[in-house]
Symmetry: C2
Subunit: 148 residues, 2 copies
């Protein structure tokens, strides 16, 4: 089994169509941004998007920020990881690493569940050459209070 993702080519035109259906205008920055996303083999920061060779045009950071935010709102791209700007810390003593996080209010709950990926972790350690593997599992959603 190969762990790395096998990339099938993504058609920019399809993405552009999605965007226009979502009410976005076909601008140079949008096309550039989609080109970068479509060819990227890993998640990118806003800076990395701008710096990518595929991007081609020069563009203000604020523009990329707003553009990607729009894409995120329209669920064409996803922002990964904790959405909070600040880092979170907890005692290592507690072995829990599974979280339930509200997208809206940012609340973080710790889940008390049996970890389902122990076996997977071993396999990844062997195949990837990474050492000292640990993992975290996060569930993102909208909490009861924020649904109202």
């Amino acid at each position: 089994m190969n762990l790395k993702m096998s990339k099938h080519p993504i058609a920019i035109e399809d993405l552009l169509k999605q965007c226009s259906e979502a009410g976005l205008r076909r601008t140079a920055a949008l096309e550039a941004c989609l080109r970068v996303f479509a060819t990227a083999d890993q998640p990118l920061t806003l800076q990395q998007i701008a710096a990518n060779a595929e991007f081609g045009v020069s563009c203000d950071p604020a523009t990329i920020y707003r553009l990607v935010s729009r894409l995120e709102e329209r669920r064409i791209v996803r922002r990964i990881g904790f959405h909070s700007r600040a880092a979170h810390y907890c005692l290592r003593e507690s072995s829990h690493q599974d979280y339930l996080i509200c997208r809206d209010c940012g609340s973080v709950e710790v889940l008390d569940i049996a970890c389902p990926v122990e076996h997977l972790e071993k396999q990844i350690a062997e195949e990837s050459g990474f050492s000292d593997l640990e993992h975290e599992l996060e569930f993102f959603g909208r909490c009861g209070a924020c649904q109202k």
Copy 2:
């Protein structure tokens, strides 16, 4: 089954002992910080630590930053989530949400694995009252290059 974590009391003295064995001095800020961590029911930001009622003493943000960094280095606390300061984005089109991340160089690889938590996600959705659940699974470690 109750998803929420059941907290067993954590002895501050034990933590202080760990710290002193790790070469840290027993300062007011250290004690305050451990008090907060020991009573917290979720991961905290540096600001939340300082603002917590348990903290008690007033203390410069830079001090807390360095203190928690020291605790992290000594593996007494853990920093959760992507360690990068910048947010990462990717196309939603690709359904992959499993990552292998190097703690040192920050590289992010996308893993092509069958997701082991579908079932769990349904259960959590039912029991938590959260809507629109999605999840991410991250493996953190040290990549081959960074091990040298």
